[in-house]
């Protein structure tokens, strides 16, 4: 049994917000994660909703800022918040940028050295993490969904597109929707994959949908005062491709809202209800 060490626990809305670390065999280093157990978890298995956070965040960011525990307690959902990358890798340059390396794993398995050694977030999230959760928490098997923000919105979309059937539902806040066409994405993909355009394309949600991959009906919230909207996110292109492809998408544009957690908190309830409908259905 893989060991899990709890480093903090806080009662929250009748449940428990825990933070844990474990030796990840996939990453080859210790990894941290947050797990919110709703009160219903005392009485039996509950569905799992995984949050993938954005650049510079860690396993605590969403738990502290999004205000999601209230609805998770009401709806009986376990909230799981992985970290955004390996940490303490000792790799030169890993801490040099806020948008590449540490805190910027982009939820993929790097193929280029030296990153390929530890940057294996896709395998970690799709293989090791579900098994770890099932071992240590009252997880309802087969009832898992995913959502995320910015880099984590990219992660939610691409992991769900690349692993059909793994997640029952998918939503995103201000996702990096076409990473091969924006500075954040091209910097990350060049670093983690090198210059092979084929490797890039299969981690770009817009291109994946264009090529026929599909998601469950999708909810995306986007603030219109988001400073990254035009250069980094490309939600209009994503929307056009979804329409063309027949991918069901509920895209809500919110005047005045920016890219941060005040925006996320304002609409988090709708996302939890969206996932609960799929997970309890």
């Amino acid at each position: 049994m893989a060991a899990l060490k709890t480093y903090a626990e806080h009662a929250s809305f009748g449940g428990v917000q825990g933070f844990h670390r474990h030796a990840s065999s996939v990453i080859g280093l210790p990894m941290r994660l947050g797990v919110y157990l709703p009160p219903q978890a005392e009485h039996g298995p509950v569905p799992v909703l995984v949050w993938l956070a954005g650049l510079t965040c860690n396993e605590e960011t969403f738990a502290i800022k999004a205000g999601a525990q209230r609805m998770a307690a009401e709806l009986g959902l376990m909230l799981v918040t992985p970290d955004t990358s390996p940490r303490g890798t000792g790799i030169e340059g890993a801490e040099a940028s806020w948008d590449f390396g540490t805190g910027a794993g982009f939820y993929l398995d790097a193929t280029r050295e030296p990153w390929a050694r530890h940057w294996r977030m896709e395998s970690y999230l799709t293989q090791e993490l579900p098994a770890l959760l099932a071992e240590h928490f009252p997880v309802r098997v087969g009832a898992m969904s995913v959502f995320g923000h910015s880099m984590g919105g990219h992660g939610a979309l691409t992991l769900a597109l690349r692993h059909p059937g793994l997640y029952r539902s998918v939503t995103a806040f201000a996702p990096i929707a076409a990473p091969t066409s924006c500075p954040w994405g091209t910097k990350a993909f060049r670093g983690y994959f090198g210059d092979d355009p084929a490797a890039w394309a299969v981690h770009d949600a817009t291109l994946l949908i264009e090529r026929g991959a599909r998601l469950p009906p999708l909810l995306v919230d986007q603030g219109l005062d988001d400073a990254y909207l035009d250069e980094q996110l490309h939600i209009d292109r994503f929307e056009a491709v979804c329409r063309e492809a027949g991918q069901p998408l509920t895209l809500r544009r919110h005047a005045g809202y920016d890219h941060g957690y005040y925006f996320i908190a304002s609409f988090i309830e709708d996302h939890l209800r969206w996932h609960a409908a799929a997970l309890h259905g």
Copy 2:
């Protein structure tokens, strides 16, 4: 007109979470504060609910962690979050402790040098701040309430006890309820007032109630896994004195909850409803 400079604004639950700074004449230095304007503030004046934060916090802590904007938007309350002390005072020793000096103003006017120069949080909060708010925001005059956490719970209780009629309602989370009898309080009072026990007593909520001061009916939430409960907070003594004095007190003890913002967020809705009933009544 006193100038107010906005350094950040975020749309939040249909309203705006702003952060501002101004030159405080009372403190003699720039001060920062957060103001959440609910959507109702677009159409007319709204009541003000002032949050006093605990040790080490600043004007952003509550805005980020408490999840209060949701209910403030529903109930039409302006949330005001002052900083916890002067900053950048240049006074030797101001940064030496986490529980005294910077971030630890204890919501009083210091009388002992060098602190008396800038540590004038009581006058700031009871005189300058209400006038500043009335100048710059759509404040419903005479409709102000106060609440706080830990050191800020002490602040809410003592400011309301010392300034009858200023606040319509008062609530607290895990307040330092008898500061003259706990290490945090005695360190602060000795530092800010010197060794005069008479000066101490008039800033101790338990002693003030014992001596006849009264508050509106009071709501206090206390976690029973709070690491500071026995040594620093003395809520049992406060409760006994309130009972003896006939001070109405709803004290709720919560098994499993600790001293932090996960605890506060879990019960914040009840506090906002409590204040809204008094402010809209």
